[in-house]
């Protein structure tokens, strides 16, 4: 076979001319042999964060419960009483569009490995999904496949999927988003595991599934826009095996709990390359790695494919030689391979061997730390829309408007999705995905709330408002149930960062998230960036998804989110903020409009006040008014068979029926019984005065007719 030309090589390895020159400069010569593959994988956007890193540094705020662990696989929050929470969110957008079932399944598998590689037992999963218009080509099968993939994988590994968000909008017709979040718990004698290789002479051990040709070049692919021919990306599909993942969880946690391991790292994007190079680089050590000793599924596999394979359910760990036998015994018990494939050396070089010969020798930091950092151009954010007085969006009557909104996939009941997820395995679930806030109980008799945020229609309306809402809305959903938000993870899905308007939205979002994290005292402890969500030049609208974890320091009752009894007094509390038609307008195919603004400082302080207010007053029912406005929210609150009978004067609050559909940031609904009413009203008065709110008595709950 003829030697490929330089141009062909650059194209094949997805390396730009400038990057090629930078590599040649670092090496003092052009790259050769396996080096091409190494740089291709680890300098990809997906692995190197080369377009985002300069902005992600802004997420540096930490508090007493968190520490700087940006080096690690996921962030950690020490919540006291011997309990630590580990969580992270990650995207699997490109693979899910190509093969929805396997793409979503392996997305769940990957995020779980990020959690248990740190020594944490995964206790909950959440998903954040954006689909296109339900009638767009392939969309129904994409939706079905993604949901089945999450269900098939999560249910089998025995981690409950307890919450999620599902968007439908034409912006995602050709680029769906599949983001998964996993939450893990470290308790008892278990220690946090590191991913830093240490100890000259220690062994590098490969554990889990055998290596096949799956997903070779996957990391580079995930950093590229789609072209028309998705078939050409055929060999990239990775197949997930949840049963094997379950074995891997148990065996890894067992060797960690027995203190047999120096450090551990999962093999995610760019597989063995990224895991071993990063371990060596973080530990400032060298490593000899014998690629031929890697357990192989396919005898025709080449060294390059072994390095880049994204076969699932694999981990690499480092141990002192005398522990190898004990480690192998644990993995044998779970019927898994544990093969020594290398040693830690003092050379500070990665030496890759194939059948006894050195095939590549390179300083790992050149590949992990010297990737280019791009300061992609952006401008100061200017709102795409002018603020204006919000006019009625429709002259239909309330009932007709409600019915037409409820025809839309977005507003339809999504229980068909959540019912496919095992929501209770592990017997920690207090509130499942049918609720506005999902809650799990800890052994310390405290409750942990898990939410996902980012409502893309608000991002499309105004990036600033959308980004503030992305964290503040879930924070308020937690506060209104008595929880304090304690930490944040994110999954920043954007289009091509080489376009100024995309980068401007990205930077605006990062700046706001950094500010909110600090004001809310909820550090951003982990995250993921997914760029190039773009097909044939059309990008997605900015979708910086957020995962938020909150804590309630007791196991007292969490207020309901629907009316569950008759005779409750129902209150509407309104904050001066934004009045808009965002999702409502989109669904009705009308122009979006909005007035007003959100203030980070005010909202951050208010979240704290709301947590305290709910803890003190203990309302029976509480809910933040969502998309589709009060009309949709009250309609959803009827689901237990009770509804709010509106008092006559409530209609006077709105000058037109369509105003019931206004999306206001933020309105709140409470319902209290006669015993709670007195103290509730007293505290509410104080809250209203202090925060400049408006409160109304809406009516009372009664048995519904439907």
């Amino acid at each position: 076979m003829a030697e490929r030309t330089l141009t062909e090589k650059l194209k094949h390895y997805r390396i730009s001319q400038n990057e090629y020159e930078r590599i040649s400069g670092l090496l003092g010569r052009p790259p050769q042999g396996l080096e091409w593959a190494l740089f291709s994988a680890l300098w990809s956007e997906h692995c190197s964060y080369k377009s985002s890193k300069v902005h992600l540094r802004k997420f540096s705020y930490r508090n007493g419960m968190t520490r700087d662990d940006s080096d690690e696989n996921a962030g950690v929050v020490d919540i006291g009483f011997g309990e630590k929470i580990v969580f992270k969110m990650e995207s699997h957008n490109h693979p899910s569009f190509i093969e929805p079932y396997q793409g979503a399944a392996t997305g769940v598998g990957g995020i779980l490995r990020d959690i248990f590689t740190m020594g944490a037992r995964p206790i909950a999963l959440a998903d954040y999904l954006c689909f296109g218009d339900e009638n767009a080509p392939r969309m129904k099968s994409l939706v079905k496949g993604v949901v089945a993939g999450i269900s098939g994988y999560g249910n089998c590994v025995g981690v409950p999927t307890i919450t999620g968000y599902t968007e439908y909008d034409e912006n995602y017709n050709k680029n769906i988003l599949v983001n998964a979040m996993a939450v893990g718990l470290i308790e008892g004698q278990m220690n946090l595991a590191s991913s830093k290789a240490e100890g000259i002479g220690n062994l590098v051990v490969y554990v889990g599934a055998k290596t096949g040709k799956d997903g070779v070049h996957g990391a580079a692919m995930a950093s590229e826009s789609f072209d028309q021919d998705i078939d050409s990306k055929k060999p990239n599909i990775q197949i997930g095996d949840p049963f094997l993942e379950k074995l891997l969880i148990e065996s890894c946690l067992e060797v960690l709990s027995k203190n047999l391991v120096v450090c551990m790292q999962d093999m995610g994007a760019a597989g063995l390359t990224s895991s071993t190079f990063e371990m060596a680089s973080k530990g400032k050590v060298g490593m000899d790695l014998h690629l031929d000793k890697v357990p192989q599924r396919d005898s025709s596999i080449t060294p390059e494919e072994i390095l880049l394979s994204e076969s699932q359910e694999r981990m690499v760990l480092v141990c002192v030689p005398k522990n190898l036998e004990a480690i192998q015994a644990v993995f044998k018990k779970w019927d898994l391979d544990a093969a020594p494939v290398g040693t830690i050396t003092d050379t500070k070089k990665m030496r890759l061997f194939w059948k006894g010969d050195v095939v590549t020798e390179i300083d790992p930091t050149l590949i992990t730390d010297s990737a280019p950092r791009y300061e992609r151009p952006f401008t100061e954010y200017q709102s795409k829309r002018k603020r204006a007085k919000v006019e009625a969006v429709s002259n239909q009557n309330q009932k007709q408007l409600l019915d037409s909104l409820k025809q839309n996939a977005f507003y339809k009941n999504k229980n068909w999705i959540y019912e496919q997820y095992d929501q209770r395995v592990g017997t920690r679930t207090v509130k499942d995905a049918s609720q506005t806030l999902s809650v799990v109980r800890l052994n310390s008799h405290r409750d942990l709330a898990i939410s996902v945020g980012c409502r893309p229609s608000f991002m499309r309306m105004d990036t600033r408002i959308g980004a503030i809402d992305a964290i503040m809305y879930p924070a308020l959903q937690q506060a209104i149930k008595g929880f304090k938000p304690i930490a944040v993870t994110d999954c920043l899905n954007f289009a091509n960062p080489e376009r100024v308007e995309v980068m401007t939205d990205f930077v605006t979002t990062c700046d706001l998230y950094a500010q909110i994290a600090q004001k809310l005292d909820a550090p951003i402890i982990s995250g993921n960036v997914s760029f190039y969500n773009e097909t044939e030049g059309k990008g997605i609208s900015p979708t910086p998804a957020v995962g938020l974890v909150g804590l309630k320091e007791n196991d007292e009752r969490v207020p309901d989110c629907v009316f569950t009894e008759t005779g409750l007094d129902v209150y509407l509390v309104q904050m001066p903020g934004v009045i808009s038609y965002a999702k409502t307008a989109e669904v009705l195919k009308k122009e979006m409009s909005f007035s007003g603004d959100l203030t980070v400082n005010y909202l951050a302080d208010f979240v704290g006040a709301m947590t305290a207010f709910v803890a003190k007053t203990k309302p029976q029912v509480s809910r933040v008014v969502g998309q589709g406005g009060l009309a949709l929210t009250l309609d959803k609150m009827k689901s237990a068979g009770y509804e709010c009978s509106m008092q006559v004067d409530a209609n006077h609050m709105f000058s037109s029926t369509s105003f019931l559909f206004e999306e206001r940031l933020y309105d709140f609904v409470f319902a209290v019984d006669s015993k709670t009413r007195g103290p509730f009203e007293k505290e509410l008065d104080a809250l209203v005065k202090k925060w400049n709110l408006i409160s109304h008595v809406l009516g009372s709950s009664r048995k519904g007719y439907s």
Partner: protein, 78 residues
């Protein structure tokens, strides 16, 4: 006309079912080199012309029954 369509996971990709069963079988008797698990689908088509019917069966298979990214198939007349 009736067609039998045999579907197997693509050789290069991981066959999770086959591997799990193979590993289990080899726990007791180390005699299984490989175990692969697929599907067998029987289609009874309205078309009576053999060539036309086969064309239709292939079309249905490639567009609906399999995902060519992860599966291969063979077709036989019954």
């Amino acid at each position: 006309m009736k067609w039998g369509i045999k579907i197997l996971p693509r050789e290069v990709l991981l066959d999770t079912q086959g591997r799990a069963v193979q590993d289990y079988l080899n726990q007791t008797a180390q005699t299984v080199n490989q175990c692969r698990i697929g599907k067998y689908i029987v289609l009874d088509l309205k078309q009576t012309d053999s060539a036309e019917s086969k064309k239709k069966a292939i079309e249905i298979t490639e567009q609906t029954l399999i995902n060519p990214l992860i599966e291969t198939y063979t077709i036989e007349s019954l």
